[in-house]
């Protein structure tokens, strides 16, 4: 992976991290309605995968979707405005944190129903095949979704029809408070790919370069008409499932161990070791990212709420 690409990847991951920290801060100030599911700790996955995608490629996202939006190129200010329920948000305040979409960059939307995005991604893949373009779909979902029927139905259909979809399982080991070993006997969800006759691979989801390179292969495979793949990214969410969930169901030692594997610190170390960036360069990037996030947050805070009667609009096209 070339130097410029790695630095870009780092910047994107930092954008996601600082954005999420800002969301958490605003949530604490009671500015964010409803609930939030933060992507902190999983940044390498969205950034590593989406760095391989073109603007006209598609992604399908989940309730933990802010990172996917940012990685695919959605605007930070409109994303933040949507999270705050403002009129200037991507969905004019109709969607909120769990239902953001930006069709202008191929972000086909987050669905808050676990596993529901999988067949939708298959459908976008079918659309690509029928229209005869060389686009690709990346479909993000968690370990919880791997136990839904839609996982089986959607991946099987994509496999049978050889559709250009890359299924990305973000395995953060917990579906809400339920740990993986309680609900499946296998350790590697990637093994399930065998059942559909497609390639499946497990990768360290906290290693951005490893994710990038694994996704690169799968995306090329899909773009060249060779069908779908399943990539399992092993990761961990630094925060609880949602809001102020203290995540006490996770052993303290486990949390500490994973915090040491922070994907951003990980990549930062590699950049410094390789001499791609010096401390001054790092600080410069951090300042720039901080600045755009502050601006995005201010834009969202200053934006008006939608007029109440807009609730009745756009039920039908």
């Amino acid at each position: 992976m070339e130097k410029g690409k790695i630095i870009e990847l780092y910047r994107k991951m930092l954008e996601i991290r600082l954005f999420e920290e800002k969301v958490f801060e605003l949530y604490g100030q009671n500015i964010v309605p409803g609930t939030i599911h933060l992507y902190i700790g999983e940044e390498a996955i969205a950034a590593g995968v989406c760095s391989n995608l073109r603007k006209d490629d598609y992604i399908v996202s989940t309730h933990r979707g802010h990172g996917h939006c940012i990685a695919k190129g959605a605007r930070l200010d409109m994303t933040m405005a949507e999270i705050l329920g403002k009129k200037t948000g991507y969905c004019r305040g109709k969607g909120g944190s769990m239902h953001i979409a930006d069709f202008s960059v191929g972000m086909l939307g987050a669905t808050a129903v676990v596993g529901a995005g999988i067949p939708i991604a298959t459908g976008a893949g079918l659309s690509i095949k029928l229209r005869g373009t060389d686009q690709v779909v990346a479909c993000f979902f968690g370990d919880g979704a791997a136990n839904q029927g839609t996982f089986h139905e959607g991946i099987n259909l994509a496999a049978v029809w050889k559709l250009p979809v890359v299924f990305i399982c973000e395995n953060n080991l917990y579906a809400m408070g339920t740990c993986q070993s309680q609900v499946m006997l296998i350790k590697d969800i990637a093994e399930r790919a065998t059942a559909y006759g497609i390639p499946g691979v497990s990768v360290n989801g906290n290693d951005a370069i490893a994710v990038y390179e694994t996704a690169e292969k799968a995306i090329k495979h899909a773009r060249h008409g060779n069908g779908p793949s399943l990539i399992e990214c092993k990761t961990y969410r630094h925060k609880g499932h949602s809001r102020f969930d203290p995540a006490t169901y996770r052993p303290k030692e486990e949390v500490e161990e994973w915090l040491k594997k922070d994907p951003i610190q990980n990549l930062k170390r590699q950049l410094l070791e390789k001499g791609y960036l010096l401390n001054a360069g790092m600080a410069q990037i951090e300042r720039e990212v901080n600045d755009i996030i502050e601006k995005a947050a201010q834009f969202a805070i200053d934006s008006p709420y939608p007029p109440p009667e807009e609730a009745l609009e756009n039920v039908y096209a």
Binding site: Y58, V60, G89, Y90, C91, R92, G93, K94, G95, H99, A101, D102, F103, L108, G109, T111, V113, A116, I118, P119, I120, A121, T122, G123, A124, G125, L126, S127, I128, L130, R131, G149, T150, H152, E153, G154, N156, L157, V160, W161, E313, N314, V315, Y316, A317
Partner: protein
């Protein structure tokens, strides 16, 4: 037949063929239209043979046999619909829409609204409802009212070949997800259909029989039972007006209310369960908006709140027939 424009020739074809013609014409007109569903391709051509010959005409890419995966059928159709295609999904029996309910009710219905009108979901879901062929509780339900309860979905309930073709063409040309309800017993029924191209707008009821004394609002196969009842009562000098809404969402309230204003009496007949059903919604609407015009209480003809039983005498007992319609009419006239 008031919506037919022009003087073109009519011919008599079945409801099944009318639907097939609509699919064929729209697939020819627009190459983003494609079909997917279980056993709709060249091996079986649809459980009710609606897609007969279409795979040969358009190829297996546009007439796609799927695995028995209803959730993936609809989910895949949704994904295709939001990225430039116009899928028409067939769910072999209406009862099996339950297997795809998240994709229908949470995804297809809500994407346009929830994403702030960034995307449209031009998706037609064709599926047969209704009983009367002794296939019991898992293949005989009428769930139209479920879909009326989901904002974002349209619901069509054609009762004739003419309506089925014209409404289906409108549905395919539209921009919204629509549950296109067919009725198993209607497939072999025949009716006049123009040779020329035509469409029927959604939300326009059709007065299938004019009368002065009582209004029956009926849907799908019940329209034909209501027409039979009207013919029988005509011999007694009673004029029964049969109003067929043709679509439940949108519902043509005006035509129903205008008819009630004229007759002062209302019976509503549909094949689904009585509680929270099609008849309940229409009764509530008339009670709310036109109660002053009623000279008698509203009466409903619907199925009792039971699953559809198997044994012929049991099934016959729960599905309303002409006799029940007439008995109900006599209660208020």
């Amino acid at each position: 037949m008031s919506m037919h424009n022009g003087d073109g020739k009519m011919r008599v074809i079945t409801y099944r063929d009318a639907i097939r013609e609509a699919l064929l014409e729209e697939m020819k007109r627009d190459n983003t239209v494609f079909l997917l569903g279980e056993d709709i391709g060249r091996c079986w051509e649809g459980a009710f043979k609606v897609t007969k010959g279409l795979a040969e005409e358009f190829g297996d890419e546009r007439v796609r046999d799927t695995p028995i995966s209803e959730s993936a059928i609809i989910g895949t159709a949704v994904g295709a619909a939001i990225t430039g295609m116009k899928p028409i999904a067939e769910i072999m029996f209406g009862d099996l829409t339950t297997l795809a309910m998240d994709q229908i009710a949470n995804q297809a219905a809500k994407i346009h609204y929830m994403f702030g009108a960034q995307a449209k979901v031009p998706l037609v879901i064709r599926t047969p409802f209704g009983g009367g062929v002794n296939i019991a509780a898992h293949h005989s339900q009428s769930l139209e009212a479920w879909f009326m309860h989901i904002p974002g979905l349209l619901v069509a309930v054609p009762s004739t070949a003419y309506d089925a073709k014209g409404l289906l063409k409108t549905a395919i040309q539209g921009s919204n997800p629509i549950i296109f309800c067919e009725h198993k017993l209607l497939y072999p029924t025949e009716g006049p259909v123009p040779e020329e191209d035509y469409t029927i707008p959604l939300g326009i009821a059709d007065i299938k029989n004019e009368g002065e004394d009582l209004t029956i609002v009926a849907t799908m196969f019940m329209v034909h039972k209501a027409l039979n009842a009207a013919r029988m009562l005509k011999k007694e000098g009673l004029g029964i007006e049969v109003v067929d809404p043709r679509t439940l969402v949108p519902l043509d309230k005006k035509t129903i209310i205008d008819s009630v204003k004229k007759t002062g009496r209302l019976v509503i007949a549909a094949e689904d369960c009585k509680t929270a059903g099609v008849t309940a919604e229409i009764a509530a609407m008339v009670a709310e908006e036109a109660i002053d015009y009623l000279d008698a209480p509203i009466r409903r003809v619907a199925e009792p709140d039971t699953p559809i039983p198997f044994s012929p005498p049991l099934e016959k007992y729960v599905i309303p027939d002409e006799r029940r319609i007439i008995k109900t009419i006599r209660e208020i006239i």
